[in-house]
Symmetry: C2
Subunit: 307 residues, 2 copies
């Protein structure tokens, strides 16, 4: 058993959006010394109000940290905070960067190599589970990278997750698992919206459709979760349409580069793009149902208010 002195306690969380905020709060609860950073002053103010030592300077947050968790939007932002905003120069020399943004395996490898050139360890660590589970410290975290690096980051990962995988020693493997998951998640959200709008067109009771199909072979995690948003007419963003424009965009970029046809992912991406194009990009991703309603002149729960 490790003594408490050997556990790395100094942790920085870069990116305090809905996921990063919940992860930082989980780390505070678990007894870590947490500093946070976000470029948006309103987000920083919320974090401070919740007792997190937060600011807008990534290097200040990372100064002397054992572990820096980056929870930003994509590979480009991760690159910027690590190498342009000074995280790599501020973290302890034996520290670990835990990189949580969804990105291509190639981007994960490139960022790990850049970190290695500065002598800093990097763990490929995409997350899944949404805002509620982030707040509960109950995420699924997929990791890959050298076993010794995983071991160093493990206490921090354990405090944020209910399910923690180490999927291999190669950077990029976890990123690839996450991308395959996002292909399915994106298609399933769009399919849930297509099916519920179709059910409305057939004059069915949507709450009953959601109840019955959630217990049938047509069910999916997303049908149960996002279908509830459609039934309740609640499009406040838990996860926004733009997230799947981004993630299915990564799927399609990889698929095109690999000469792999992915017609369902491609169709789902077009549906998210249409929904964003219709002005709903920042709304909940279940808004794809409102795109169908708009096209077909249907009245879904929550009324016909234009977004």
């Amino acid at each position: 058993m490790m003594t408490s002195a050997s556990i790395p306690r100094e942790t920085a969380v870069i990116g305090l959006g809905s996921m990063g905020f919940g992860m930082a709060a989980s780390l505070v609860r678990a007894g870590f010394a947490v500093r946070g950073c976000d470029l948006r002053p309103d987000i920083v103010a919320s974090a401070r109000a919740a007792g997190i030592d937060a600011g807008t300077d990534a290097a200040v947050a990372a100064r002397g940290a054992d572990t820096v968790v980056t929870v930003v939007v994509n590979a480009a932002q991760t690159d910027t905070v690590l190498f342009d905003n000074g995280v790599v120069g501020a973290i302890k020399p034996e520290g670990v960067i835990v990189s949580c943004a969804t990105m291509s395996p190639g981007d994960a490898k490139r960022l790990a190599s850049k970190a290695a050139a500065s002598g800093i360890d990097y763990l490929d660590a995409p997350i899944s589970g949404g805002t509620t589970r982030a707040a509960e410290g109950a995420l699924t975290v997929l990791t890959s990278g050298p076993a010794a690096v995983f071991a160093k980051a493990r206490p921090v990962l354990a405090a944020m997750s209910e399910t923690l995988y180490h999927l291999g020693n190669e950077i990029g493997t976890a990123a690839a698992f996450k991308i395959v998951n996002q292909l399915l998640a994106g298609v399933h959200i769009a399919a849930a919206c297509e099916a519920l709008a179709f059910a409305k067109k057939l004059n069915l009771d949507l709450a009953k459709v959601h109840e019955v199909i959630s217990r049938s072979a047509g069910s999916s995690w997303m049908f149960q979760n996002r279908g509830a948003h459609v039934v309740e007419g609640d499009y406040a963003p838990r996860s926004a349409v733009e997230i799947f424009v981004k993630d299915l965009g990564i799927v399609e970029d990889i698929a095109r580069a690999e000469r792999f046809p992915a017609p369902l992912a491609g169709t789902a991406l077009q549906l998210f793009l249409m929904t964003a194009s219709a002005g709903m990009g920042r709304d909940d991703d279940a808004s794809v149902a409102r795109l169908y309603a708009k096209i077909a002149g249907l009245e879904l729960p929550g009324g016909t208010a234009e977004p």
Copy 2:
């Protein structure tokens, strides 16, 4: 409480394919007097070997029955067995037809009207759950039709199902629920196959992908169920590609008639058609994964043996 004498015991099952066979066996176990019928002599022989009083004449099976359960492929076959092969003339005058084939709400209404013209009650009763659950008497049965008709058929329905819904008094409502379920089920099977083939292209361990994503937000009932067939390389038909060519065909027929766009269902239908076109129509519906493998030159579990 009903006395045992008041329970309708004489039951015929028309169509003894994998679903009908399991349902007939469940009814025998529950103490019903069951006669079965199938046009295929080998299927009749199997049913007899299992102790079911079976033959190839639908009218003989239906003679004097309280309940006739039709478990054939589609509306056209249901129409043929009921009205051309003499079931409507053979069933008891106060008997009930329980119609289980997946069909459009319009076809369900048409068949119920034809039965009513002969004074026979008809229940719209599509089923879900697959061969294993049929054999266990553990199907999900979705029904709609007049409450009195549902009440008459209830003992037979209860013996075949774990979950039994009466979704309304109108014929066609249950058919519509089933069609919405099939839209999702078909898209989810094709998406599972697209995702697993993509994972193979990315050199991931498919068994691990199946395990991890089954516990993540990308999961679906079909990803768990059919994904296992891909991981095991087992394409022996539990449900064949042709079933989803048919069911997504019904979805698209309705959607086109209603002027409702269903791009994901349409894309999934094309994938099942490509798989059938490549010679795998009678194989397990997870064979869509082998279509991707064939196109992209991938070796999935089970080897590259041509179907």
